[in-house]
Amino acid sequence: MADYREMWRSLGMDLETHDLLCEALPEAFGGVYLTQENRPQGMDFYDFVVSEIHGVRPAELIEHRKSGGKVFGTFCVYVPDEIIFAAGGIAAGLCGGSQFWVPGGEKVLPANTCPLIKASVGARLDKTCPFFLAADMFVGETTCDGKKKAWEILANEVPIHVINIPQMKRDADIDFFKGEIMNFIKVVEDFTGNKITPEALGESIKLINDKRKALQRVYSSRKSAPVPISGKDALLVTQIAFYDDPARCAQMANKLCDELEERIQQKQGVFPENAPRIMVTGTPMAIPNWKLHHIIESAGAAVVVEESCTGTRYFENLVDEQGTTIEEQVKALAERYMKTNCACFTPNPGRIDDIVRLVEEYKVDGVIDSTLQFCNLYSTESYLVKKELVDRGIPVLHIETDYSDSDYGQLQTRVEAFLEMLQK
């Protein structure tokens, strides 16, 4: 990484501790990513972003702040980024994906809390992530018990607005969510000092839709056999999409797709055509959590689709662009976001339907349902996922894991046994 120490210092970071992270990352990334063969050239951009992960994008965020703009840290695919960009703000997805931040979170949160939540809180409190310090406001939501209560603790540290996500999807609930988006508009307008006009919101709806379309295109390429891009690489594209500039994200993803589509034409892939095709479903994998994908792909199978927040849930469904008034646009936003199927909703049959549909679309041989530890929602819903898949004769493996490496060997064994079963 180039020298960003001055910038980090200006953010009030704990440089000594942060150095340890900077030292560990290149090796971790190199071992997981750079050892892959025949990677698309379009991944160079993403490799560069990772190599400068705490430098190049944070520098842009700081520039934005210097010119009077605001940065909003978000933690969920239900947060409508469109509102933030329409007010001239920048939204950056901040979910923590490294064990490095977990002990910091455990200073204020119970050890028996989801690692994503602990890492997110720890990254801010320990001052070891520039993204967390560059955010002027955090946007929380009530998607799960752990997050809902963690915001109360973070509220002592940084301005935070909590969006109240409904738990059902009846018409009244979609109206309720519309109301929450209207509140959010007010909060963002007040915080940025910028009025959100229908024109600006229309533009940002298009901006985020374009990003979604580009990510959809990346995923579509993975329907081919042989698959032109590894699951690890596709996951990285999605992970970076959470905090990159949306226009650049779309541009780079589209550029990558040109190459991937060329590869498909030439029947060129990164795995043999008969390699087992795996779907990963469940809880999100925030950067730099590549653990499960690495285990699966090192065992010779290809991850061809993720039904998760760091996967299809992030970009499936577009916002209708026809609205010309704030009222119409907010309605379109509410309708689009309420199509996303997270286990926080009850009931959540849409997710099961999505899994079944994606199994078909991506010609999946086996599903690995992965839950981060202590996520009561996904771990309980795994019963229903398994039931449906077993009924349909689709092999499924449920695993529960965290960010540590302590269960690495055990996971490896279980995944290998699962893959062996698929090949029979």
Binding site: P110, N112, T142, D145, K149, V162
Partner: protein, 378 residues
């Protein structure tokens, strides 16, 4: 006399089992509930018998774990386990189950329970301080009324609701009077006695009878004379609900010579100050106001719980606070951070325990409780 009364409370479950069976034979309906947020006034107004079904026994947990994750709250696993093994007669008798979205585990468990019984799920908002949340909750209470009417084939009139409101208000006042007995030092009721009394109300088929019994207990309880200098530490228990079968922390604390004088949890004092406004014009609005004010950790933020704890610590002359979280209950577990801060600010020892229904941690619980009690300055 007092002992006899307490003894009566401990037989309520058994006696009412027979009564409820008879009532069922006579065509009365039974509605199973799992949470203090459930507006049981509507169940009573429908002429049905509400029964509390929260599992407090370890016995059915392993059966539940065949369906639910092992790493889930024991109360949820026990409740589901009783249901799936059909070993709880009260669940068995229930014509309708009312669930709420109070926590992630329950919310998802109820989806699976629907295969066993008709389950109606109320959507409880996450925040209780916004107009939109309030309106949503009013609608949910109205929706519950329609479901009960539909499921039990009955009509719920406003008049019947107001009658039930009056009855529940009187029940709360009577229970509060019982809890308030223990403001005295030494406390007239042990923690185990207190638990026996409050827990019994989950199974009663006759609320008026129970209210009468509660009031009698208050009248007939005598205060012990004080032996100054010999007073045992006075402990406040807060956190997740406790019932007979999951009372190990209360039992251990009292075996170690302290008094559990009060409980701020949903089986205890949490809701007892909250009465439905009988002057209101709309019973649904009045019920919504009362229920949404409940200081459960599922609400964010949950400031009223801190206020309640603060005043209970003073009113009950508390020497130490034990905060009990059932395993994998994230809302109480995370909120323990704020509770710990408050208790320490008040200069009292604070012990946060995370446990389940098993007896495997009894020794370590004992050691930790003992160590905390040693810190009490008396």
């Amino acid at each position: 006399m007092r002992e006899e009364l307490i003894e009566e409370f401990s037989t309520v479950r058994e006696v009412n089992l027979m009564r409820i069976k008879e009532a069922k034979d006579d065509g009365r309906k039974v509605v199973g509930i799992y949470c203090t947020y459930c507006p049981q006034e509507l169940v009573l107004a429908a002429g049905a018998i509400p029964v509390g079904l929260c599992g407090t026994s370890e016995a059915p947990v392993s059966a539940a774990e065949e369906t639910l994750p092992r790493n889930l709250c024991p109360l949820i696993k026990s409740s589901f386990g009783f249901a799936i093994t059909d070993t709880c007669p009260f669940f068995h008798f229930s014509d309708l189950i009312i669930g709420e979205t109070t926590c992630d585990g329950k919310k998802k468990m109820f989806e699976i329970m629907q295969d066993l019984k008709p389950v109606h799920i109320m959507q409880l908002p996450h925040l209780n301080n916004t107009r939109a949340s309030f309106d949503l909750w009013v609608d949910e209470i109205k929706r519950l009324k329609l479901r009960i009417e539909d499921e039990l084939n009955t009509v719920i009139t406003d008049e019947a609701i107001w009658q039930a409101v009056d009855m529940i208000n009187r029940e709360k006042k009577a229970l509060k009077a019982i809890f308030d007995l223990n403001r005295a030092d030494p406390p007239p009721l042990s923690g185990m006695e207190l638990l026996t009394v409050v827990w019994s109300r989950n199974f009663s088929s006759n609320k008026e009878e129970m209210i009468g019994r509660f009031n009698r207990l208050v009248d007939e309880t005598e205060y012990h004379s004080q032996e100054l200098g010999k007073l045992a530490p006075r402990v406040l228990l807060t956190g997740c609900p406790v019932g007979l079968g999951s009372e190990k922390v209360i039992r251990l604390t009292e075996e170690l010579g302290a008094h559990v004088v009060a409980m701020e949890n949903c089986s205890g004092y949490k809701t007892l100050d909250l009465l439905t406004d009988t002057e209101a014009s709309d019973p649904f609005v009045a019920l919504a106001e009362k229920y949404l004010a409940i200081p459960c950790s599922c609400m964010s933020p949950n400031n009223y719980r801190m206020d309640l704890l603060n005043s209970m610590i003073d009113d009950f002359r508390i020497d130490a606070v034990i905060d009990l979280t059932w395993q994998a209950c994230h809302t109480y577990n995370v909120e323990a951070y704020h509770v710990g801060k408050l208790v320490k600010q008040k200069g009292l020892p604070y012990l946060h325990l995370e446990s389940d229904y098993s007896s495997s941690d009894l020794e370590s619980l004992k050691v930790r409780i003992e160590a905390m009690l040693e810190m009490v300055e008396k």
